[in-house]
């Protein structure tokens, strides 16, 4: 199917009244939960997951995607109005965005973010439509060795791009792989790490762990500094960028989009890397670098465009290879598996309506965000100031119902509580859980591909270095690891990531 027909099919799928409505719900709910401080996209998606269980697959995926970039967007709103990044990738937005808000230009900062995001979203969606089918047909030629190397690259990227030490991130990833091993081994049928419990035979549900660590863990952490939660929200005046704003932000939006589109495809923490790189680039090439950090509109528009472009294109590895590039995408795969769909190169040929419907709905979702966010910003601002003591019991109830309804299992609820406490302790001992989440999904895949690769090569491990693609991927992974030793990169990483959790 060519792109044109694909897009037509997508439009007819995405604009059925039901899908359109659920796309709207997704975007709306995602923004609403995303603006609540302390709830990032992972917690938001896992909390809202049960809303999609009763839906048909395409509708569910469309709604989930809507929730995802709704929550991304909500994160930028809190970043600008309250100086609280809702998620790691909007940390840079706080630098200039909140500064603009302090100068009474909150509305223009929000508009710059919205316009940049919409433009980037449009380009990102087009990029998916063009490149995903190509990559998917290319991916059909990948053997297990290539897949294994890609997984290694994804894990290493996520470790390098996590705040804190590399060694800690490595340990967390290994722990995640072990959690993924729990359950019945697909190959031999042996029960591994099940502690003789029938509940663990099917494995530990990934969504349960993510909800516990990110949803409940954050609630526990937020509760203890309840008293010093500041709720000062900047007031929003004019939403219209001036002619000067337009002139200053159009080139940064273009550059940010370019960076975002490319980095989003990279497995690992693409979205985060995209917004940081875009900000750094603008600061470097600007004629007035001294204005950055003091309310430069370029410093809002470029990273926002970059993170939204990357948020779109990070769907590419997931849709075409079945490999999640980020923890959020891992969660999307978890949700698809709950729905009975296994993402991979076949998804395009076997479920074209699902794929193209999703692509088109992404664009529609971005359009909705533009119209939903700017006029309703006053409402979001009020939502931000809902006191936490009303909010957190509601969050607890939603995640408890959500986790219970995955398998109708009370055991999952207890597991979620356990991982919530664990997530809290990880925070206390300075261990970032994102690599764990990604590794939990990628670990079992890595084992399976390793097994197949070694079976074909009769146990000869050089197979990973003789395939050019696999070798290339491993070299990139190695260079990334090496880069962290370089003091210059180290400094940038520490500056960029210290706030990012």
């Amino acid at each position: 199917m060519d792109i044109f027909n694909g897009l037509l099919l997508g439009f007819s799928t995405a604009t059925t009244p039901e899908n359109f409505l659920y796309c709207f719900f997704g975007v709306f709910l995602g923004t609403a939960v995303g603006v609540l401080p302390g709830l990032g996209p992972i917690a938001t998606i896992s909390m809202l997951l049960p809303f999609t269980f009763g839906l048909p697959i395409d509708t569910a995926l469309i709604m989930l995607a809507g929730i995802f970039y709704g929550s991304q967007y909500g994160g930028s709103t809190t970043a600008i109005l309250m100086n609280i990044p809702g998620e790691a990738s909007s940390v840079v937005t706080t630098l200039d965005g909140h500064e603009m808000a302090k100068q009474g230009k909150a509305g223009r900062a929000l508009a710059a973010a919205a316009i940049g995001s919409f433009f980037a979203g449009t380009v990102g969606t087009l990029f998916i439509a063009i490149s995903a089918p190509l990559l998917a047909s290319f991916a059909l030629t990948f053997g297990p060795a290539e897949y294994f190397s890609l997984i290694v690259l994804g894990l290493i990227t996520s470790m390098v791009l996590t705040s804190g030490s590399l060694l800690t991130a490595f340990g967390m990833a290994l722990f995640g792989v072990l959690l993924g091993m729990i359950g019945t081994d697909v190959n031999s049928g042996a029960a591994r790490y099940t502690f003789d419990s029938a509940n663990l035979l099917d494995g530990l549900d990934f969504v349960v762990v993510a909800t516990g660590i990110f949803g409940l863990g954050d609630v526990l952490a937020n509760l203890e500094n309840e008293r010093n939660r500041v709720a000062s929200v900047a007031t929003v005046s004019s939403l219209f960028p001036t002619a000067d704003d337009w002139r200053r932000m159009s080139a940064p939006i273009l550059r940010g989009t370019g960076i975002g589109v490319l980095l989003g495809v990279l497995p690992g923490a693409g979205v985060l890397l995209a917004s940081f790189s875009a900000y750094a680039l603008e600061k470097k090439i600007s004629r007035h670098p001294e204005q950055f950090g003091k309310g430069a509109i370029e410093g809002v528009a470029a990273p926002e465009a970059a993170n939204n472009a990357a948020a779109q294109t990070c769907f590419i590895p997931m849709l075409t290879l079945g490999l999640p590039g980020t923890a959020t995408m891992a969660l999307m795969i978890g949700a698809l598996v709950v729905q009975g769909v296994q993402p991979g190169p076949e998804i395009l040929t076997q479920q074209p309506a699902l794929f193209w419907g999703l692509v088109v709905s992404m664009w529609l979702g971005n359009l909705m965000l533009l119209f939903l966010n700017l006029p309703l910003v006053g409402m979001w601002a009020r939502l931000i100031s809902v006191p936490y003591h009303f909010l957190f019991p509601v969050i607890c109830v939603f995640i408890a119902i959500g986790v219970y309804s995955i398998n109708n299992s009370v055991f999952d609820v207890y597991m979620m509580a356990l991982f919530g406490v664990l997530g809290y302790f990880f925070k206390k001992i300075g261990a970032e859980p994102a690599p764990l989440i990604l590794a939990m999904i990628l670990g079992p895949m890595a084992e399976e591909y390793l097994r197949r690769a070694l079976l074909i090569s009769h146990g000869d491990a050089t197979v990973f270095f003789t395939s050019p693609l696999s070798l290339g991927t491993l070299i990139v992974a190695f260079l990334l690891l090496l880069s962290i030793v370089s003091p210059r990169f180290r400094k940038v990483r520490e500056e960029g990531l210290q706030e990012a959790d």
Partner: protein, 152 residues
């Protein structure tokens, strides 16, 4: 050895690593060309043990003090979720939501145990039952199986 962030993290990694390596050793290891169920877990847990030991060594270099732990939220909120799990099937969703809301809310300093809290929790329980069971069609019992026996 003084307790610091790295000491705890190192001990955590090492303990989990040793535990899972011991368990994995009992699964058939196989050979490289025919990996058994124990092959990959043994490698991963050995690496985890090694990482844990390295983190323990690192703990001698820097002292990351452990921030204060807020035990009250951990205990109370976990307990509230435990109660939800115990109650949801025998007594039904509304009662489970009501209990989870009230018990978890007691963690907050701003919580007052008065009629408003109960009324709010009851209204929220009703809202959740309508939203999740009636509108979204999740298969969660509204009336638990104990209560059904009472002829309700």
């Amino acid at each position: 050895m003084k307790l610091s962030q790295d000491v705890l993290l190192g001990l955590f990694f090492t303990t989990i690593g040793v535990g899972s390596a011991v368990m994995a050793a009992s699964y058939p290891f196989g050979t490289s060309s025919r990996m058994g169920p124990g092959y990959f877990p043994v490698i991963v847990s050995s690496l985890l043990v090694l990482t844990g030991i390295l983190v323990l060594f690192r703990s001698r270099l820097t002292l990351g003090a452990i921030p204060e732990i807020g035990w009250k939220p951990i205990v109370v909120v976990s307990l509230a979720i435990l109660i939800f799990g115990l109650v949801v099937e025998p007594l039904g969703l509304p009662i489970a939501v009501f209990l989870l809301t009230v018990v978890s809310a007691t963690t907050s300093e701003k919580f007052r145990l008065d009629w408003r809290a109960f009324a709010g929790a009851a209204a929220f329980a009703a809202f959740c039952s309508v939203l999740f069971v009636e509108l979204l069609g999740l298969p969660v019992p509204i009336v638990g199986n104990w209560l059904q026996g009472l002829g309700l």
